[in-house]
């Protein structure tokens, strides 16, 4: 865990430094209005906390060098999680172009396969049916302007 704490601490620390630099371009305080005060309070606290986390991380590294580590995730799991994240991103990029009715069954089918559903008939039925129900419910009844395209 020590290494992970250092990584998180470093990310937050960089973030707080970047944010702090940006506060210099804020308007000056005038007549009781302090545009820099609250952001700087938040940023400086974040900086201090991330520093503590980094120090704790190094202390942990020193102390439990011998401690048994949690077994890392299997390759299969990492690939599946990455596939779901990338699939979701592709869906976000595509849904506006190809429309809700075409993009959503693909997303559902992908998720079903990742969750170990191997019966193809089921994958097709569930992904198409869910999409159709959602589309009619939200576009038809609730009047949500779900993305449409020239295809549908």
């Amino acid at each position: 865990m020590g290494k992970i704490d250092i990584i998180y601490g470093t990310i937050m620390m960089i973030l707080s430094v970047v944010f702090f630099v940006m506060t210099f371009s804020f308007p000056q305080e005038s007549s009781g209005i302090h545009p820099r005060a609250f952001p700087r309070f938040v940023i400086i606290s974040t900086f201090i906390l991330s520093m503590i986390l980094i120090v704790q991380g190094f202390l942990k590294l020193k102390k439990d060098r011998t401690e048994e580590k949690k077994p890392p995730l299997s390759r299969k799991t990492i690939l599946r999680i990455a596939a779901l994240a990338i699939g979701g991103m592709v869906y976000t990029l595509l849904v506006g172009r190809i429309g809700y009715v075409i993009a959503t069954p693909l997303l559902i089918a992908l998720t079903m396969v990742l969750f170990e559903e191997r019966r193809w008939l089921r994958v097709v039925t569930v992904s198409v049916l869910t999409t159709v129900i959602m589309y009619y419910l939200f576009r038809g009844i609730f009047r949500v302007p779900l993305p449409r395209s020239i295809f549908w």
């Binding site: 007549s31 545009p35 974040t46 976000t92 969750f115």
Partner: protein, 492 residues
């Protein structure tokens, strides 16, 4: 009095929303991987089209139902359906192994109902009084209250105090992006136009609480760490005898009251209450050695306590706008989304909403009782639902929820990004609840601070001149010190 009758009439004419809420709550409660907070998020796309009062009673039903539903999977498959039911596993599962699963579910149903009723009574009597006091709060008191809310959430929720606080400050940092609340000048937008309006709360909520859970369940499934229902369990003999009930009644009563009190304290919630009630029940028992081997009191105590927290947790949410636990923090997000700002003004400006909520909350308890006994036999079947169908539907509803408030595809992407962030945070001992609290309370804290400073012409000492504010600062320091002390004690 006429307000109460109006409330009853409203709930009776909108009973279907309450029914959907309670049934949906039991369902998400029973299913491990889905909890009350995820349940409310899955309702987001529908809530937008409902009246505020109807939305509120539906969410309350879901809240109470999920608290009860969590016990079912704790008893049947030794996996708590929600974190609040973790203590129920200790005696619930041994009871099921003895073939007494039905009776354990029956006791859990009665205990949950009793806890809920006592908690609702407390809500009805305490909330209006507290709202009257809160009405007198000025900017300084509000600022100190927000500080209190943030520290207490950070100090109880993550694996360590530093990580909890850092999670909260991450939320605060995110809340800074967009426009300065008093001047309206642009800040921290990195030149990206979409950042001008800040990070909208709904997609962030959807991502951190629901999509992250889909990733988490995918990991568990892939690593073969999910427990499935082992065999075709038959649920029989659900009704406990009078003698058993009589013996359990002191435990149920005590645990319900304990749960209610813990629920009122912001940021505590069902998980803490149920373990405390379990320990107390064992301490006062004539046969403490039976605990852990399958005793009915070991199910009754945590279940009445965790349902006891529901009404209690609603008290700070409704009167102060500070959520009592994780589910109520999501509820706060949902309320703001549909245009209801919880706080003392809600009581004076919308007494109709409050009255309907009180009646609905009470009615939810009796629905839990009825549904628990009527549907006990089908619970094992719910647990056999295919994850390959459940989670794809969950992710579709999540994206719809993120999309439908602003009709924006950008929001779908944002919810996914926060889903990934939430997954990694949870994996590494951080907590999503303080992040959300930071995002929701940060802007309010900044606004109140700005107001206080304008009134005092820039004099910072004004923050420490109100006695009530000093009490809240004191409580904040106390909660930090307590959790620091607790952490170091655990290590020793």
């Amino acid at each position: 009095m006429s307000g109460v009758i109006d409330g009853i009439m409203y709930v009776l004419t909108h009973i279907h929303f309450l029914l959907i809420g309670v049934a949906g709550g039991i369902l998400v409660g029973v299913l491990p991987g889905l909890s009350g907070s995820t349940g409310i998020i899955l309702m987001f796309p529908f809530l937008l089209y409902m009246e505020p009062a109807a939305a509120l009673i539906m969410m309350s039903g879901l809240f109470c139902g999920s608290m009860y539903g969590g016990s079912i999977s704790a008893i049947l498959i030794s996996t708590p359906g929600t974190p609040s039911a973790a203590a129920t596993v200790l005696d619930g599962y041994p009871l099921a192994k003895k073939g007494l699963a039905g009776k354990a579910i029956g006791v859990s149903t009665i205990a949950s109902t009793a806890g809920g009723i006592i908690s609702t009574l407390c809500l009805i009597f305490l909330a209006p009084q507290l709202a009257k006091i809160a009405l007198k709060f000025g900017p300084v008191e509000y600022f100190s209250l927000m500080v209190f809310g943030l520290t207490i959430m950070a100090s109880v929720s993550a694996s360590s105090l530093v990580k909890g606080l850092l999670s909260g400050f991450f939320g605060l940092l995110i809340s800074l992006v967009g426009l300065n609340p008093t001047l309206g000048t642009e800040r921290f937008t990195f030149g990206i136009t979409s950042f001008l309006s800040g990070f909208p709360m709904v997609p962030v909520l959807v991502g951190l609480f629901a999509i992250s859970e889909v990733f988490g369940q995918l990991e568990l499934l892939s690593e073969k760490k999910l427990s499935r229902i082992p065999h075709t369990e038959k649920i029989t003999n659900v009704m406990p005898t009078w003698k058993e009930l009589k013996e359990l009644s002191p435990v149920i009563l005590g645990s319900s009251i304990l749960g209610t009190i813990i629920g009122i304290i912001p940021a505590t919630g069902g998980a803490i209450a149920s373990f405390m009630a379990y320990n107390e029940a064992r301490r006062f028992s004539k046969h403490p050695e039976n605990f852990g081997t399958g005793t009915l009191a070991g199910v009754a105590a945590p279940e009445s306590a965790n349902n006891g927290t529901t009404g209690g947790a609603m008290v700070p949410l409704l009167t102060l706008g500070i959520p009592g636990d994780v589910v109520t923090s999501v509820m706060l997000g949902a309320l703001i989304m549909i245009g209801v700002q919880p706080g003392p003004l809600l009581f004076s400006q919308h007494p109709d909403i409050i009255n309907s909520l009180f009646v609905g909350f009470m009615a939810a308890q009796f629905l839990i009782l009825a549904m628990g006994f009527l549907s006990a036999r089908i619970f094992p079947r719910i647990l056999r639902v295919s994850l390959g169908i459940l989670f794809p539907i969950v992710i579709t509803l999540c994206f719809l929820g993120a999309y439908s408030l602003g009709n924006s595809i950008y929001d779908i992407g944002l919810s996914l990004v926060f889903g990934v962030i939430g997954y990694f945070m949870k994996k590494h001992g951080f907590s999503a609840a303080p992040v959300i609290l930071g995002i929701m309370l940060g802007p309010i804290a900044e606004q109140e601070l700005g107001r206080a400073l304008i009134i005092s012409h820039g004099d910072w000492t004004v923050l420490f001149k109100s006695p009530l504010a000093l009490v809240f600062y004191g409580l904040s320091i106390l909660s930090l010190a307590y959790s620091f002390w607790g952490v170091s004690k655990k290590k020793a």
